[in-house]
Symmetry: C2
Subunit: 162 residues, 2 copies
DNA sequence: CGATGAGAGTTGCGTCAAGCAACCCAGCCC
DNA sequence: GGGCTGGGTTGCTTGACGCAACTCTCATCG
């Protein structure tokens, strides 16, 4: 996306997309949610241009979706973390993940699954545990590599399963 | 967004965003879901350039998210409808709507609310009716103008409440 | 009969963001 | 002192987006 104002739109969807609708932004959020925290790690994993990644991270910090913290002095090195606002994007990401899985399935099955940390059950498109029925939030779940990822092993750019 | 391939990404979120992550695309889907079906109606409502709208609609039809049907002969005139695949984007849109309402609230309150057609209850961020507890789908709900829209009345571009 | 208008686009041009590669800087490692 | 690592910044090129004008078909008005 280019300029991300949608003039004349009085709608929370439009306002949300102003922030997170830019190319790469939601993928950055997804990666940080999955435990990628450092610039180079994000850059290599996504294949995004470094200047674009830099711009997106700054925007996400301004919008209070990410936080930057130094993890060492000496040469200062930083890690990025999601704020509560960022973590709250989890239901939207889960919905998109399930939509992709349902309507453009990869032959091998979904490349990534989300499971409930508590009981290990699969998480539905609404972020509900299919095993125990609880309504989950970002911290209650974790991603696990699915059957579709196996076909990508050997592909160096594939998401490093973590 | 520009080119919407995310090379080397083996992830359903990335694949979803290849299709619906382009600028305007999700807003077009939202508008069609809310009953806007015609080219000019969409163009005026969104303020998007006509060539861009044309390109997006074609892409959405190729991807089987929208369907185009002639509603009159003579000069052929068309309407756009969501397919099942398109309707299945509803949970993601609801999640984004709620995220926007929670984290960048407009002072007047949310401009749009979603209610359960069956019982009139408010719909949660997970697409669940807060009144009767049912898990809803696109066809079970409808948008109603919220308190935040009143401040925009007189603004000709405001979403025509329908 | 000519003019006007609606609906649904297409064409052409200029601009500005994305992509790419190269560069920078500070510290540590050998 | 040459290279490596982490975290960026700079500069150039390309191509998507925004805007305005144009097209085409039929309907309606005076």
């Amino acid at each position: 996306m280019l300029r991300n104002d949608y003039p004349g739109q009085v709608c929370s969807i439009a306002r949300s997309l102003e922030v997170i609708g830019e190319r790469w932004t939601l993928l950055i959020v997804r990666d940080v949610m999955n435990g990628r925290r450092r610039f180079d790690e994000l850059q290599k994993g996504l294949g995004v241009a470094r200047n674009v990644l830099s711009a997106r991270l700054q925007r996400l910090i301004e919008e209070d979706i990410l936080e930057r913290r130094a993890y060492q002095q000496g040469p200062e090195r930083y890690e990025y973390f999601l704020t509560e606002k960022g973590l709250d994007l989890w239901p939207a990401l889960v919905a998109l993940l399930h939509w992709g899985d349902r309507h453009s399935p990869s032959p091998e099955g979904p490349p990534m699954l989300i499971v409930h940390k508590g009981c290990g059950g699969a998480v539905s498109d609404r972020g509900i545990c299919e095993s125990c029925g609880k309504l989950l939030h970002a911290r209650d779940a974790r991603p696990v590599p699915g059957p579709g990822l196996k076909s990508a092993i050997g592909n160096a750019d594939a998401v490093a399963a973590r």
